[in-house]
Amino acid sequence: MMKKGLAAFLAALLGFAVIVGIATFLLRREYHAPYRAPAAVTQETPRAQGIADEKAEVEKRDKEKPYQEVEYRQFPKIGSRVAVWIAAQLHLLFAAFVLAVPLFALAIEFIGYRTKDRRYDRLAHEFTKLLSVSFSLTATFGAMLTFGLIILYPKFITYLVSVFSPTFLPYVGLFFFEAFFLYTYYYGWGKFSPRVHLALGLGLNVVGTGIMLIANAWLTFMTSPAGISEKGALISTWDAVRNYTWMPINVHRIIANVAFGGSVAAAYAAFKFLGAKTDEERAHYDWMGYIGNFVAICAFLPLPFAGYYLAKEIYAYSQTLGLTMMGGAFSWLFIIQAVLIGNLFLAANYYLWLGMGRISGAEQFQKYIKYLLILVATCFAVWATPRSIISTVSEVRAMGGSAHPALQFLGVMSAKNTAVNILILTTFLSFLLYRRSGKTPTVSWAKAGNRAQLAIFLVAATIVISLGILGYFVEARVRIGFSIPQVLSVLFTMVSVTVIDVFLYRNATKTGEVRWGQIAPISQYVLIFIAVTFTWLMGLMGYVRSGLRQHWHVYGVIRDTSVDAFTPTLGFATRIVSVCVLLFFLLISFVFWLASLTGKKDWEPRPEKAAETERPGLEPVGAAE
C-alpha cells in the first residue's frame, strides 16, 4: 500500500516537474524588452517641491482621465493567447470526455438490460463513475475560459455577445439540466426501474449534445461567419449558428468525442488491470479495456470521413482558408497528424493481435498478422511522406528541387487518400479476424458468405487503388471528386461485411473461450499509449481549426490587433499541446484515483491504535457515560 502510494506520488511529482520544465523552457524564449535606465536629469527644483508638483500632476491627470474601452489585456508571463489556449484545451478535453462517456455507457447499459447480463450493467456503472468529478472539472475550466476571454479579449467578446446573446440562456438552462440528469443517472444507479434509469441516461445524452451544438456555433462562426452584414452587424442569429462549418464540426466532434472517451475509459481499465490483485479483477478490467478500445476504434474508423466533410465545407466557404490549411502555413501540421494517426492505427491493430492470444482457436488467423502489419506500415509510411523535403542546398541540387524525384509522388493527396483508405480497410480486417477467433460458422451458406466478404474487400481495395493511380493523370477538379467514391466504397465494405458477418456467425459453434485477463501486460500500456495519442491529436487538430483564422478573431470581420496577431511556429504549438496533454493526464489520474476509492472499505484505525484507544486512560470523553 505504502509502495503504491509512494509510486503514485512520484508519478505525480514527475508529471508536475515535466510541466514546470516545459513551461520554463517556453518562458525562457519569451521576448523581454531591454531595460534602459532613464537619462539623467538635472535637478532644477528642490526635491520636496518636485515631489509635490508630481503628485499634483498625477491627481490632475487622474481627474481628467477619460473612459476608454480596453481592446486587450495581457496575461502575465505566458501571454493572453497561451493562457486562453490552455484553459480552452483543458475545458474541451474534459467536456469531450463528459459528453462521450454517457453515450456509450447508455448503450452498454441498454445491452445489459436487453440481454439481462449483469456484467454490462456493472461495466456501464464503472464508466459512469468517472463522470461526476470530470463534470466539475469541465465546469471549472469552462469558467476559467469564459473569464479569461472577458478579461483578456473584452472587445472581441463584446462582439460575440452581440451576435450570440440569444443562445446564452438556453445554454445555461441546458447546463442546469445536464447537472440534473448526470447526478440523477449516477446516484440513481440501481435505485430506479431500468427503464426510468435508461430514460435518465437518454436525457443526459440529449442535453449534453444540445450544449455541444450551441458551443460549436460560437466557435465555428469565428472561422466561417454568416448571418451578418458586410460591416459585421447581426442580421440573423440562426444563420450565424448554422454557418458553413457548424454541422461538419458537430458531426466530427460527436464521433471524435466517442473515440476519445472510449480511449480514456480504456486507459482507466488498463490502469486498474495493471494494479489488479486477483484474476477476477484482471478479467473484469481486461474486458473493460477491450470494450473501451472497441468503442474508440469503432468511432475512429469513420473519423477521417468526417474530416473530409469538414475540410470540404471549409473549402466551400473560402478556398483561401482551405488552401491555407492544406497547402499553406499549416500544411506541415498534417504530416505530424499522419504520424499520430499512423501510430494510432498501428497501436490499435497491435492490441487486437495481442488480444487474439487470449482466445483459443485464434491460431489459424495469426499467420495473417505479418501481412497486415506490412500493409499498415506501408500505408503509414505513404501517409507521412511530405511533398517537399527539408534539405540542404547541396541536397536540393542533387535532387533537382525541394521534392524528392521518386518520393514526391507519394506526398500528394492521391497517394495519401489511397493510403488512409487502405489503412482503414486493414484495421477493419484485423477486427474481423479478432471477432471470428474461436468461432466456427454453422450456417449452410458459410462458404458463400466468406467468398462474398472477400469479394467486397477486393472490389473496394481495387476501387481505392485504381482511383488513387488515376488521380495522377486527371485535372485537379476531377481528382478532388475521386475521394468520394473512395470513401463510399470503404464505408460500404465496413457496413456490408459487418452485416454478413453478424448473420454468418449467428449460432456459431465456439471452438475456444475468451480467457479474459490472460493477455500480455504490454497490451495495457498500448491502451494508455492510444489514449495519450488521441488526446494529443485532439490538441493538435483543435489548434489547426482555431489557428486557421490566422490574424482574425472572426475571419474577415474582427481583426486581431493584439501582440499575438501572428501564427506561431508549429514547434511552439506542439509544445503548448504537450503541456495541455500532460496537465490533462495529471488531472484525469486524479479522477481515476477518486473513482477507485468508491467500493473501498471505510477507514478503520489500525489494530494497535484501536487497542490504544481502548486503554482506560485514553477513553474519549463521553465514552463512560
Partner: protein
C-alpha cells in the same frame, strides 16, 4: 528493482508526448505574420506599379496561395504565366484591363474552363485590397505576357464612385457575361460576399480566378 506501475504509466505518458513534441520540432518552423502594407503613391510610374503589384500579390493579396507562375500539370487554379496574352482575347469585347478588373472585383462573372469557382472578392475582407492596390496588381499581371498600360489614374467601373462611363483613361464598362455567369455590370458594388447569410443549399460562394 521493480518499477511501480504508476511510475511506468507516467513515464509512458511523458515519453509519448515528448516524442510528438520532438516530431513537431522536426518540421519547418515559420511564424506567419499579417501581411505588411505596401506604400502606394498616385504618381507611380507603370514599372513601379508592376513592382508594387508583385509585392501585393505575394503578401496582402494572398494570390500565390492558389496561383502559380510557370507551373505545368494538373493544377487546381490557373497558372498565371502569359496571362496577359489570354486576357486580351478571353472575353469578346474586353481589353486585358477589363478582364483583370472583372476577375478581381467580380470573380464569379467568368470561370476559366476546366477550373472550379474558388476566387474570393479581392476588395472585401479578409483580403480587402484597395482600388489603388488593385491597379498595381493589374499592372503586374499585364507584365506577364504583355506591357503595362494601366496607370494610377485609370478609372475602373467597379471602383468606389466609378460610374461605368468609358472616357479617356477609363476602362469601358464590360459587356454581358460570356459564360453563363451574370452580366458584368457597370455598377460600382462588387459581388456579395459569403460573409452574409448562408444559402439554403450550400453553394460555393467563392468563385474562380482569372487565367
Amino acid at each position: 528493482m521493480k518499477v511501480p506501475v504508476s511510475l511506468r504509466i507516467a513515464a509512458l505518458a511523458v515519453a509519448t508526448t515528448g516524442f510528438y513534441t520532438y516530431v513537431g520540432q522536426l518540421v519547418p518552423q515559420k511564424e506567419v505574420h499579417p501581411p505588411a502594407e505596401v506604400a502606394i503613391s498616385k504618381d507611380m510610374k507603370p514599372d513601379e506599379m508592376a513592382k508594387v503589384g508583385r509585392e501585393i500579390m505575394e503578401g496582402k493579396g494572398l494570390c500565390f496561395t492558389c496561383h502559380t507562375i510557370g507551373k505545368k500539370g494538373p493544377l487546381r487554379f490557373p497558372d498565371l504565366e502569359g496571362v496577359d496574352i489570354r486576357a486580351k482575347s478571353r472575353v469578346p469585347g474586353f481589353s486585358d484591363v477589363d478582364y483583370f478588373a472583372q476577375s478581381i472585383y467580380q470573380p464569379s462573372a467568368f470561370i476559366v474552363p476546366g477550373f472550379n469557382p474558388g476566387m474570393p472578392v479581392i476588395n472585401k475582407p479578409p483580403i480587402g485590397l484597395t482600388d489603388d492596390e488593385i491597379l498595381a496588381v493589374i499592372a503586374y499581371l499585364q507584365t506577364l505576357g504583355g506591357k503595362t498600360t494601366v496607370t494610377m489614374q485609370t478609372k475602373l467601373p467597379y471602383q468606389a464612385g466609378g460610374n461605368g462611363q468609358a472616357a479617356a483613361g477609363t476602362v469601358a464598362p464590360p459587356p454581358a457575361g460570356p459564360t453563363g455567369g451574370p452580366a458584368a455590370t457597370t455598377a460600382a458594388a462588387p459581388a456579395p460576399q459569403n460573409a452574409g447569410k448562408k444559402p439554403e443549399t450550400p453553394q460555393n460562394p467563392n468563385p474562380s480566378p482569372p487565367q
